[in-house]
Symmetry: C2
Subunit: 434 residues, 2 copies
């Protein structure tokens, strides 16, 4: 069966993935009208990953940090959005296999991003909680809240500690932000919600394999984020690896055993899998090797951008960092080059312009490395807030996130502490997912 | 095992259910400090049922219309909230059996509310969508959006219509409000989101067994709501019953067959089931018969309030309507009587004061029956908005709902059209629910 998209006389660009890269590219191409644009994603929304941790910490609602794809393309002609799973690519036939049928392409852009990397440890993969989607962030929120409810009716001391303590693995931006936010909940929220528990006894651990936090940022930011977290009471373990987790206890390579039922896994990513991409094109971290024009090595008319793409340039001999900025800049460059292709012009190679990076640890505490300008503390925190507000899609999202932040800041109280369990389809019921 | 709640020298009132009645009662008792208060609910939040339909229609987020129970009882002493399932009551031993263990009570208040009534039709119970919780409202939202996505890739005309058309069963406030909201989405939202579909062909049916809509309200409101709905394009079928639904087609008693995969069931409620309540105390609609002091017939120290309670008074010889107002007034009366009991004073019998009822059909369209004053249209709609805003718990909820309403009103666009699928726990994973 073929996917139901009309054929036109324009060439068709199929984009897989509506993340930072895919969405940007689709918007640019839609505006230029040279191609028919088909955007495929398994969700009907774009997710703003930098704020997942605030959803997990009950500070924001998922709806504030995601944006309906259809809404982004209203009144755009020749753009077709399909919510579907892409099962495989067949470069020889210029076709994609999707759960909605076969989809032909003239040009294919893989913007499929990265998945959580458990480094082959299947036990940890099964038991730890990743945070690479809003669904996972919501799941984490529910887990934390249900475990505190359970702790109330647990009289055994050790068992109760296991329900209350949390181990965060990975000292990158996600790990730092999550553990900072947890430490603030411990301080400001849990004592009010659970007066029956001794919330002083909650321990938040942050475990990082390298000898510093935020390894992708400056030494100064690493040092300062460690100081911020330590002041908030987070137990930071550097040069430490989690070797095992059985759902009850976490074991590290230096022999420590931490009793904790929740392990938040933010230790690394690997390129998302796509059936049909030749293994010869795959490189370190399961990324797809592309040239400076984002063309996938060894394939015709197939491109890759964003976290999934591995591109070497002079300043980045080991590939670019897997961050939103790279994805968006590659999207802009590829949109230009597809226009150039259409008009028979020469292509321009991609070159990454680093705009800096930031991480927030808590109220009035953030670190920022901007080009030629490093700073930490309350000002960095304010800048962080406004940069993220500015980047998020949709005026309503901006307004509602801003109000939520002001509210949480003034009241010291994230108010979305709701364990909303999905209604599970009953047996025999018409299936929702196709 | 016993539930982990300290014994004090105060008598313990256990309240089952944190709905309008249970929450109100718990708040009143907490303030008076004469009793230890234990509030049991299977969710950690109170739900504001009158706005479920707006969650289903993507107009509001669940978080705006629910409120964390713990937050409502902050700084209250001798109040214990437990998120648990109550499995049975043992009136002979003055105990409850819960999923967290045995819970003793001195006084028990059942405020367990009502469930959807499918009138014994198991097929419909399995396939139709009820709307008695935020989880169900979210499920409905996801179903509507996924079906429209599916319709895009369905080339068969009949099958596509089945995905697009919706049948609402029951012409009470919920049915009227849902079908009105669906008709507005058809008019303002779907054409922009799904330009590929012919949204003129969407049919919304409202099926009601009686000869008028809103049977609990005045003739005038019934007539006007029918007029509003008809103008919005809703196909209203009065004096009609749904006799069968197989997941594809709806059959009615006058021989009509409607091809529709979504049936929203708002046709009636019945008292929630509670193991251990003697069948002799149960009456019509599975309600529990109580006297004017809310005492359950034939049981010592057991009370029932709200939708589950069946109380006859002069003006209401067939029991009170199952609405929030009755539950809250009964809660206040019972709180007073428990105080009276504590002080050895005489009890006062309950008497319902009807404050009127309202239903909204759409933008600027509502009907209101206030005591001695009936009106319809834009003014009723404004009153409806403010009454509901006023009743919802929490300042933040009020602010956010108000802003959402203003936003949706100005833009003609509910913006929460996101199919956020729950992350299903992986096999072998630590179970979330206790």
């Amino acid at each position: 069966m073929k996917i139901n998209i009309p054929e036109t006389d324009k060439k068709r660009v199929v984009i897989v993935g509506g993340g930072f890269g895919g969405l940007k590219l689709a918007l640019k191409l839609a505006r230029r009208k040279a191609y028919q644009v088909v955007l495929l994603d398994k969700n009907n929304y774009h997710q703003f990953q930098p704020l997942f941790y605030q959803v997990a910490m009950s500070g924001l609602e998922p709806s504030s940090i995601v944006f309906p794809l259809r809404k982004a393309f209203r009144k755009k002609e020749d753009v077709y959005i399909r919510v579907t799973e892409v099962l495989a690519v067949h470069p020889d036939r210029q076709q994609l296999e999707t759960s909605l049928g076969i989809c032909n392409y003239d040009y294919l852009v893989l913007a499929i991003g990265a998945d959580t990397n458990f480094f082959g440890n299947e036990k940890i993969a099964r038991l730890a909680i990743p945070m690479k989607s809003v669904s996972e962030a919501l799941f984490l929120r529910n887990r934390i809240l249900s475990d505190y409810e359970k702790a109330l009716s647990t009289t055994d001391y050790e068992e109760r500690q296991g329900l209350m303590d949390i181990v965060v693995v990975g000292g990158g931006p996600t790990g730092v932000e999550v553990s900072g936010a947890l430490a603030e909940m411990k301080r400001y929220v849990f004592p009010k919600d659970y007066p029956e528990l001794n919330t002083d006894e909650i321990d938040i651990y942050l475990v990082e394999g390298a000898n510093r936090l935020l390894a992708g940022m400056s030494e100064q930011s690493s040092r300062k984020s460690l100081e911020f977290l330590t002041n908030l009471g987070v137990k930071v373990r550097l040069k430490t690896m989690v070797t095992d987790f059985d759902g009850e206890c976490v074991h590290t390579n230096d022999g420590e055993t931490i009793r904790a039922r929740k392990v938040i896994w933010a230790a690394g990513v690997k390129g998302a899998k796509m059936e049909g991409v030749p293994t010869s094109a795959l490189t370190r971290g399961n990324r797809i090797r592309v040239n400076r024009f984002s063309q996938v090595e060894g394939l015709e008319n197939v491109y890759a951008i964003g976290d999934i793409a591995y591109m070497e340039e002079e300043a980045y001999p080991q590939g670019h960092p897997q961050v939103a900025q790279v994805a968006m800049q590659q999207a802009v460059c590829l949109a230009d080059n597809l226009s150039n292709l259409h008009r028979g012009r020469e292509l321009t190679p991609f070159s990454y312009k680093d705009l800096g990076s930031m991480a927030t640890i808590g109220r009035n505490r953030a670190v920022a490395d901007l080009p030629g300008f490093k700073f930490q503390g309350a000002f960095a925190w304010l800048i962080w807030l406004f940069v993220h507000l500015f980047q998020i899609l949709g005026v309503k999202n901006k307004v509602f996130i801003f109000l939520n932040w002001v509210w949480n800041y003034v009241t010291y109280d994230q108010s979305l502490r709701l364990i909303i369990r999905p209604r599970v389809p009953k047996s025999g019921e018409v299936e929702v997912e196709s």
